[in-house]
């Protein structure tokens, strides 16, 4: 600056020391994912409400069918519940940037997702109803179809992320992605529990 002229000064809040790799509620994508969970959770809740609304309009439930066979649905539920253990492990390791752990965790998650999908195929074969026969069948298949869609999209997402973790794209953001992938998986698991109860147990408990 020119000599003799006093430089004007102003107060400034310097934010350069703030982190850019942040997790959970501090991350914008995490909050965005939670927003999407509210939307998708809302869809699930309304379809479950439709299930019971249709039940209230029908004399027999299920109307002239056997309830879905318990075996495959229960197997899948067990896989879902157990999957939480490796998921929580790699989610926590992601916070520390533990590359090896996250790689193993994502491979496990991909395999578990595949197992869920295979068992889901058998579940679909043992629902004991068709969507075109009755409103009961329609709502059972819609609820199941919605959950299959979530399972499938999450699985593809996990595969893509696993591939990224074995590419030169490793950076802080990837670990944030890994944490969010785990959170979304919890959403898939948590929505499955009530859906399992509705699809497999409600017809048994409500049977007149």
């Amino acid at each position: 600056m020119a000599d003799g002229i006093e430089v004007q000064r102003r107060r400034a809040l310097d934010v350069s020391a703030l982190p850019n790799v942040v997790f959970s509620v501090r991350s914008t994508t995490w909050l965005g994912t939670v927003g999407m969970m509210f939307i998708e959770g809302g869809v699930f809740a309304l379809v479950v409400a439709a299930y019971f609304y249709l039940h209230s309009r029908t004399e027999h439930w299920p109307p002239g069918f056997l309830p879905p066979d318990l075996f495959w649905g229960t197997i899948n539920t067990i896989i879902f519940v157990l999957s939480v253990i490796p998921t929580e492990w790699y989610r926590r390791r992601a916070h520390h940037g533990d590359l090896a752990a996250v790689r193993i965790g994502l491979i496990l998650a991909s395999l578990i997702g595949l197992a869920n999908l295979v068992v889901r195929y058998f579940e679909l074969r043992h629902l004991n109803c068709e969507w075109s026969q009755s409103a009961y069948g329609s709502v059972v298949w819609l609820l199941m179809g919605l959950h299959v869609t979530h399972l499938l999209t999450d699985w593809v997402e996990t595969l893509v992320l696993t591939k990224l973790f074995f590419s030169p794209h490793i950076e802080g953001k990837r670990f944030v992605d890994a944490e969010e992938n785990a959170s979304y998986w919890y959403f898939v698991v948590l929505t499955w529990i009530p859906i399992y109860l509705v699809l497999y147990w409600a017809p048994r408990w409500l049977r007149s």
């Binding site: 703030l18 309009r57 026969q133 009755s134 009961y136 030169p168």
Partner: protein, 648 residues
């Protein structure tokens, strides 16, 4: 540095350095040039302007359809158009106004453009998703009109009740097209809702704690939450309808356990909050314009915010009042009547706060303020007929008559279109850098207001005289002719009012007075930046001291420094107190959101004809989405070197 905190410093003010910074920021944040660049653009002001123009174009198109209806009804026993065409036209008018104009304009367009500016940040959260939602909305609207021009416009009314729209009574593809129009616009609105919530939660200027968020933004956040909770209802309803029609499901077939009222419940679970999704942005425009033109802070800021939130909650307890004529149990009717009356409490609170702001302020009567006064007059009439129809016996009497048509045009045009024109007059200088003509503004206000009342007030009377809605003609001796002719005459005034507005826009763009950053001496942060805002919005990110940041700023109000200016970086702050908490790099422009929207469009339109299109269409959609998220190697390497991890 180990401590991850923002630090206050004294910094020299160097004008030459500021200029160099501005040039660099402009380069970093600029939209890509050229024809292909147009499809890659992702800045919120660019996408916001496109949303506004597109929604206004649909408003004009739906307005012309209304003109066709008024022409048809101007004479009894008219055969100008066939009943079939008339059915398509009123369905197109309603669907376009609700799904392609009202929600996209009041919520998506205005919040995408204004919310990041009002919060003092440089970009909306998830800008690529934002571009994707715009294209999806545009394509959905174009699809609807394309099918209309080949005589396949939906013709079952804007809510497409089953069984009329179901597989047995709705042959052809018309109802399917309606169902997919819904899907397009809902996906678009839901994405924007998430963006608005996250932008408001995380990207506010330091100091903008919850009790300092501008009322406009509060309103749009409440609206966004309502979108998030309400829209799944219509997603489920329209999906079930489409499945019944194309896949042979039986949701609405009473012969095998289905139920037609299920559709109405799901539809109005969305449809009633929808009214507030349109109206809440209107009320917060009113609050914003009022405090500027009464030259004072809004009276009862906290009461207004709590009213908005209360309206958001109560709106979910009212849906059955659209179904009073369906034979539901009397107990539910009483409950929903009470709930409907209850909405008057928060609305009344807001009205009292507005009146108090006006009476205790120094009122400056400019065009935006005139539109706000028009809003009071029209909306209060609409609110009063609302009390009539909330009561079951009255509702049963006037259900499906023109009384209802009059009522909802008074609340929707009063509650949304009047505030919208106030918003145009108010923010036009910000968006374009030029003032609109006051004289032409007043002309369009008076033409529109007179035209509106001449068109819609007689509908109350003709409705009480028994004229049903949605009839393509009526007998000459029914006592409805003169009233219908007055209504059609009123349309001409409405048309002239809107035409005058367009002339005003055209002339002002060319010859309007230069606006400067803050022509109204308003208090919001959007007025701190040049008009129109540069690509980076704020040269120096602001800090905030009150709910009207420019009015409340301290003499030495600090600015924010230390963000990277060679990449698109923004500051993130804590949800409650807006303390600085992190830095986030925004994505660069990309063609993939556009291509993903094309792939989604192919899937949605394909599904109208063949269910398998969903499975096949998922493949290109998946590819475009993966390409959208795939980082470049340079980006990853650059960031890896500079990453600062959060310390637990």
């Amino acid at each position: 540095m180990s401590e991850q905190r923002a630090v206050m410093r004294l910094e020299p003010v160097l004008p030459e350095k500021e200029q160099a910074r501005a040039a660099q920021l402009a380069e970093v944040w600029k939209e890509p040039p050229g024809f292909i660049g147009w499809f890659k653009a992702i800045h919120h002001t660019t996408i916001g302007k496109r949303f506004i123009l597109t929604a206004f174009a649909f408003f004009l198109a739906a307005g012309l359809l209304a003109g066709a209806m008024r022409l048809q009804l101007a004479f009894p026993e008219s055969h100008l158009m066939s009943p079939d065409l008339y059915n398509q036209i009123f369905t197109m008018h309603g669907s376009t106004m609700m799904f392609l104009f009202a929600v996209p304009m009041m919520f998506e367009a205005l919040s995408v453009y204004l919310v990041p500016l009002m919060l003092g940040t440089r970009q909306i959260a998830f800008p690529r998703l934002n571009a994707y939602s715009y294209y999806l909305y545009l394509f959905g609207g174009l699809m609807l009109f394309a099918f209309f021009f080949v005589n396949s416009g939906p013709d079952r009314g804007w809510f497409a009740y089953v069984p009329l729209s179901g597989p047995d009574y709705g042959p052809g593809k018309r109802a399917d097209i309606w169902a997919q129009l819904i899907t397009f616009t809902e996906v678009s609105a839901l994405c924007v809702a998430v963006e608005v919530v996250v932008t408001t939660f995380k990207l506010r200027a330091p100091g903008m704690s919850l009790n300092r968020i501008p009322i406009f933004v509060w309103g749009q956040v409440v609206t966004a939450f309502m979108v998030i909770f309400a829209m799944p209802g219509v997603v489920v309803a329209s999906t079930m309808l489409l499945l019944d029609r194309t896949c042979g499901t039986q949701f609405f077939n009473p012969a095998v356990g289905g139920d037609v009222l299920l559709f109405q419940h799901l539809f109005w679970w969305f449809g009633h909050p929808e009214v507030y999704i349109i109206f809440i942005p209107g009320t917060v425009i009113v609050s914003t314009v009022l405090s500027t033109f009464c030259r004072r802070h809004m009276f009862g800021y906290l009461a207004v915010i709590l009213s908005l939130i209360a309206t958001g909650f109560i709106a979910f307890g009212l849906w059955v009042h659209h179904m009073f004529a369906t034979g539901i149990p009397q107990m539910s009717e009483s409950f929903f009547t009470a709930a409907s009356m209850m909405i008057a409490i928060p609305t009344g609170t807001q009205i009292f706060c507005w009146i108090a702001t006006i009476t205790t302020g120094k009122v400056v009567l400019k065009t935006p303020m005139w539109w706000v006064l028009g809003f009071f007059f029209v909306f209060i009439i609409g609110g009063m007929t609302g009390i009539y129809v909330a009561s079951v016996p009255v509702d049963l009497q006037v259900h499906d008559t023109y009384f209802i048509v009059a009522h909802f045009h008074y609340v929707l045009i009063g509650g949304a279109v009047f505030p919208l024109f106030a918003a145009f007059a108010y923010w036009f200088p910000k968006m374009t850098g030029r003032m609109m003509s006051e004289k032409l503004g007043l002309w369009s206000f008076w033409l529109f207001t007179i035209g509106f009342n001449v068109t819609f007030f007689p509908m109350h009377i003709v409705g009480l005289r028994g004229m049903p809605r949605r009839v393509y003609t009526y007998p000459a001796g029914a006592g409805w002719t003169v009233l219908n002719q007055i209504e059609s005459l009123g349309y001409l005034f409405l048309f002239a009012g809107v035409a005058m507005f367009l002339v005003n826009v055209w002339r002002s763009l060319k010859r309007g007075e230069l606006a400067g950053p803050n022509p109204w001496q308003a208090g919001g942060l959007e007025w701190a930046v040049p008009s129109p805002p540069p690509a980076y919005n704020f040269l120096n990110l602001p800090t905030v001291n009150g709910s009207e940041p420019l009015w409340d700023a301290a003499p030495d109000q600090p600015i924010v420094t230390g963000l990277k200016e060679d990449v698109r970086e923004v500051l993130t702050t804590r949800i409650l107190d807006a303390e600085p908490e992190g830095r986030d790099e925004m994505p660069a422009p990309s063609i993939w959101p556009f291509l993903a929207a094309v792939a989604t469009t192919a899937l949605f339109i394909g599904s109208i004809f063949r269910p398998i299109a969903v499975s096949i269409g998922a493949i290109p959609l998946g590819i475009t989405l993966i390409a959208w998220f795939w980082p470049t190697r340079e980006e990853s390497e650059r960031r890896r070197k500079q990453d600062i991890w959060q310390t637990e």
